[in-house]
Symmetry: C2
Subunit: 340 residues, 2 copies
């Protein structure tokens, strides 16, 4: 007997607890609608470093070490760090891990990395391999722009479907016990590619993966969208969100009444010039570690489903004419429901 439910979903028997979270964002995110939910807002998006890559690694390091302090733990108490980011060879995560004394496992799921790391961490915790695990990720507008698109100095124009990579990092400490929000189900996604080739329209590229994972989550668990107070996709933005809701309705699930997208929530697109919304691993990470987690603690949300979404292309694959594959992993989190 396995803990698998249906085709892609895993049921947690020991319900890994999320005992603390920490979120840290850049100046622009700190002026957005969710600003009151972040633990730290940096005034300077270089974070006092001499490159954007070093700044990104630094905010990830800060998120991880501060999440440990918030849990009243020491670095030595943490069994594993599961982390990843958007930079080539995950240098934000690897260089942050270099300065910690914690066994490290690097993950890459593009902007799906927050729920990828939380999914694997939950399984490893539920399988009795650890007392404390950290799941974390980061992204940075400026390091992502120059790696994936153009140097900022180039001043290229952005189409309205473009998204704005979030500068931010979120970390969560998982533990085995205590009265905290806990993970009940994890749905691992498959790679989906519907032929989108425009790297400025990633919401559309990722939407089919979000739809597939959401559909299978509902089918596997027998739950309906109404069982959740919030269903939050990662960073589909305005365009991808609309596609997702529409496609899912065609498959028989109406999520319209409680559906948000972290990328749409984090900025005020009208006044902040962020076009279709936020993106990047850090987007769903800080929205989950900040807005969603804190509203669970306060009792506003009792059961949420978070579905971070990733676009798995590289500049090389795009230059070679490949379309953009997407992936999405879903994690159900509950608190104060009296058990699931």
């Amino acid at each position: 007997m396995t803990k698998k439910v249906g085709k892609q979903t895993l049921k947690m028997e020991n319900k890994p607890r999320i005992i603390s979270t920490f979120s840290i964002v850049g100046p622009k995110e700190g002026k957005g609608p969710l600003k009151d939910y972040f633990d730290v807002i940096k005034n300077d998006d270089l974070a006092g470093k001499d490159s954007y890559e070093k700044a990104e690694s630094n905010i990830l390091y800060t998120a991880v070490t501060e999440s440990i302090k918030k849990a009243n733990l020491k670095e030595d108490d943490i069994d594993f760090l599961f982390a990843g980011d958007l930079l080539n060879q995950l240098t934000s995560s690897s260089f942050a891990a270099r300065d910690m004394n914690i066994p490290f496992l690097g993950l890459y799921g593009a902007c799906s990395t927050m729920t990828e790391s939380l999914s694997i961490a939950s399984m490893v915790m539920d399988g009795d391999f650890a007392n404390y695990i950290i799941a974390a990720t980061s992204s940075h507008f400026s390091s992502a722009e120059r790696q994936f698109r153009f140097p900022l100095e180039f001043g290229s124009q952005r189409p309205p479907t473009a998204q704005w990579t979030v500068t931010g990092s979120g970390a969560m400490v998982l533990g085995r016990e205590g009265n905290f929000p806990y993970v009940t189900y994890v749905t691992i996604g498959k790679v989906k590619d519907y032929g989108i080739i425009d790297a400025n329209n990633m919401g559309a590229a990722m939407a089919p993966a979000a739809v597939s994972t959401l559909y299978n989550h509902f089918k596997d668990t027998g739950r309906s969208p109404k069982d959740y107070d919030v269903i939050a996709t990662g960073d589909l933005g305005k365009v991808g969100k609309e596609i997702t809701a529409k496609l899912l309705k065609d498959y028989g699930y109406d999520i319209s009444h409680n559906y948000i997208d972290c990328g749409e929530e984090i900025f005020d697109n009208e006044t902040q010039g962020t076009d279709s919304g936020g993106s990047g691993c850090g987007c769903s990470a800080v929205v989950l570690c900040g807005y969603l987690y804190k509203n669970m603690l306060s009792g506003k949300f009792k059961r949420i489903l978070v579905v971070s979404t990733g676009a798995l292309m590289s500049t090389t694959s795009s230059l070679q004419g490949e379309s953009i594959p997407g992936i999405a992993h879903a994690v159900a989190i509950e608190y104060g429901t009296g058990g699931s």
Copy 2:
């Protein structure tokens, strides 16, 4: 109670079985000393594709799908694919996963990816989350050279400490039952950086990580080097292997009598012009899936310890003056020992 033993090691209670493996290599590896152990040797390192990146993704796809066939399973039987590679944003793995109907989790540990994927797959399997999981990785000489160093057409000279990225892919299918080699212990590594900055001397950069993981494995498990028929590091090459054996002796563990390095075994450095030896994720993958696994099945090796090693730099981190952090994860595999 967790399954953790000591500081960094996990003990498998259900002993995940490695029920099949598949290895596929390029023409140069197919002329090396281990050629008889590989399942497929490609004549053409483009594998019939129009780019090296597409070729690499293709051999990973082949390794995964053929490992499923060898296990007498169908794609639909596989619960998860854990895979990663060296290319930016893991495009070999992601694009291979796009053509499969299997939930996918991408990992990055540079050349440590084979034991990283096998470690996580083992924990997830031991935690009862799956019936069948595939752990896989790949690398390709030509895609790695142009991404990390110089375009091949540039014809740059190689120093004697340089290693030769293996063109190859290895995949293993893990199952819950049957008379097959099985995983007993996993030791997850920490990131170690001793200040090496030369991307042509990666063996030296990775050696401290290998030493740390080996040392902690022996300490955590109470085993000594002599408990293993073979201890195989991933791709330290000639230079890194010597450093590792020496450092470990200083720490009280003499591994000299049964220590091999996959990077040293795969090529005949004298006649094949491979300088310090092979490297790349594919190196320890094909040596494990080919030479080591097949010698376990035949009864030659009863207990092995595999320690894939990764160098976690990027071209950007090197350009910004950063040194090269290393990481290593160890997996103990047994067969025919009558239980551990």
